[in-house]
Symmetry: C2
Subunit: 396 residues, 2 copies
């Protein structure tokens, strides 16, 4: 057998992967999955959409589509993104196989081996894996309750002035659960404006706010005309329709778009036309707003139940920021604690979550844990939290 490529030789199965197999064990309370609960999917809406499809549209769903995306979906998405203030008309939109593919393509277009990519710490595990698959050196910059810490980002950029891009998830961050404050967004704007760096703005959770007064904070940085030309904005249907559709998008400046399209073409030619037809009709038939309202209510209620249980049971050494949207609570423990010990005890006693090091691009820092409330049945949240709290107490 021939030798593996450099890139393949660096690919490693994560040591926590075996533990994560427990996440699927129905006997355990799982806070591990960063996904909606199966019962929340809009199956009735999609049944209606499917039943309404004229035969010609259905046939198109079986066929190849343009690499950039199924044209009616690009139209519907354009309308949807324009309403969020995004510069759809001066940029180019491309449909991708989940937003992970949009992130992967960004790495493919910009990263040579050993190039630096700046990320938050913690950061989305899938993005870190995509960057590493192009042999990027992903440097994680610490966050606080308001977003990435300005001095830390400035320092990281001074150390890595040739960094290819900055990857941020400013709205209900995975795993940190943080919504960037107005001040922190202003800092990022200034940082992007003054430096020769691309911002990769990842926005899968922005619609899932729990408080109407936060809506202004969820307006993407990409909506700002002063910096939009330096931002690749990516989003996803995974949290607002279903991950199984495998549909995301990138809205990028026209000067870099041709490379995105060529890269995507070589990856999978086009995303599923079948699911693009369904998503396009889901939007066109006006089913998204009602579904989103329902999701916000359910996730808000679950977050509340979880936080109430945490306030009752967690030791005072554990700290967290109350999520204002999205799927996650990020618990920070004293640095001496290894979250892997907490996880092992927790699994023995009936609950599972993801340890912090999974979200460190270097796979080192491990005194944190991510609890997702998106996927956990509401009547088991309190029990699960108690198990995790007990395991934390033991590890302390």
């Amino acid at each position: 057998m021939p030798e593996f490529s450099q890139s393949a030789r660096r690919m490693r199965t994560s040591e926590i992967r075996d533990l994560m197999k427990h996440a699927a064990n129905p006997a355990l309370v799982s806070f591990a999955g960063g996904m909606p609960n199966n019962e929340l999917f809009p199956t009735d809406d999609i049944d209606e959409v499917y039943a309404s499809l004229p035969i010609e549209l259905k046939r198109q769903g079986f066929q190849y589509g343009p690499t950039a995306g199924f044209p009616p979906l690009l139209d519907e998405l354009g309308t949807y993104l324009r309403a969020k203030g995004l510069p759809v008309d001066s940029n180019k939109l491309i449909v991708t196989t989940g937003s992970l593919q949009a992130i992967n393509v960004t790495a493919k277009v910009f990263v040579d081996p050993d190039d630096v990519v700046l990320t938050e710490y913690p950061t989305f595990i899938g993005a870190a894996a995509a960057f590493q698959s192009y042999q990027a050196n992903a440097v994680g910059t610490p966050m606080d309750a308001d977003g990435v810490v300005p001095e830390e980002l400035e320092r990281a950029y001074r150390e890595h002035p040739n960094a290819k891009f900055l990857y941020l998830t400013p709205y209900f961050h995975n795993p940190a659960g943080v919504l960037y404050s107005a001040e922190r967004k202003a800092f990022v704007k200034e940082f992007v404006a003054k430096n020769d760096i691309l911002l990769l703005e990842d926005d899968p959770y922005g619609e899932l706010y729990f408080h109407d007064e936060d809506v202004p904070l969820t307006v993407p940085l990409k909506a700002d005309p002063e910096i939009e030309g330096k931002i690749a904005y990516v989003g996803s249907f995974s949290k607002i329709l279903g991950p199984g559709m495998r549909l995301g998008w990138a809205l990028v400046p026209p000067d870099i778009y041709p490379k995105y399209e060529l890269a995507k073409q070589s990856l999978d030619a086009c995303s599923s036309t079948f699911t693009q037809v369904l998503a396009s009709e889901f939007l066109r038939q006006g089913k998204l707003p009602g579904y989103l309202a329902r999701l916000r209510e359910v996730y808000h209620r679950r977050m509340r139940a979880m936080l109430d249980a945490m306030n009752e049971t967690m030791p005072e050494e554990a700290s967290w920021v109350e999520p204002r949207g999205g799927f996650y609570v990020w618990i920070e423990l004293p640095e001496r604690v290894d979250a892997l010990d907490v996880l092992k005890t927790s699994i023995e006693n009936g609950a599972v979550f993801v340890v912090g090091k999974a979200f460190d691009p270097k796979g080192e820092r491990n005194n944190c844990l991510r609890l997702a409330y998106s996927h956990t049945p509401e009547d088991r949240l309190a029990d699960g939290v108690r198990i995790v709290a007990d395991a934390i107490k033991r590890a302390l």
Copy 2:
């Protein structure tokens, strides 16, 4: 804006792409598309499948699935591939976003910049683009009516003894339309057995044979126990259900499988669970054999109509091999002819096809043309062929 990566800088939009936009013009007879006609898709079968889905299965379709594939689909595919003689139990199966992703992943796992990959000439345009996206040096080895020419392949391998793999499409080749003969398959077997090279065996068209007596020739090389450990076998639902499902697969030796799974995970996490549920039930409910029988009949009839028209109208300088299955006829012209001239005249007069250089990994040789009969309405085949034949006569 930061600099593009090496790989992105080498990505080029093909000069023939603009001409190919004509392929979608309904006023032209199109022999360009390597896809089924929209009217051939099994929409009724999939309507029945969709209507039969229990709610739990439907919900799973909205959810993330394992990177390796939706388990019931892996089971159904395993049964299907085992029946073709493939070593499903000693190898590992992975579902991919079209077989193009399986080909792309093979390149990602083995290719470093400037590594050589041996292909046929002509070869599948999508595979060549995927190889080039990893900066491979794809070397196209000439074919004749029986497959790749032994002396040519031996010579290419002597020149490039470190070639990472050999990419072949032995069953109803795209674009050459060729089915490998028994002798040629024996040669490939010996070549693979004696050399330190991986065979990437691409089999999207093998089911679409026109003559039952050819079935033994369509048995994959991967079914041979003496060499199966050196073969990555890839296939697709695109031609036997619909490309819009974006589902393919790879069956690979267990020693290379972990890298395939990690590479796929970083690309798009998993393929669409929604279309995997449909494909899985399409197989489980026994709908494939009847659909295949219908496809074989339709494509055979179209090929016959096309060849009859060609025999009547083509000048004697044009030569071709009569297809015994699949979608394509490959027409070879004297070397002095530039197929681009033929294409331009042809488009002016109302027919479009793909020029030969699209299938040359180096983009040079251009005295050939590919006519697909898979997508062309039967009542327009003869007219279209006459237009192409006239354009060839003018170019001569």
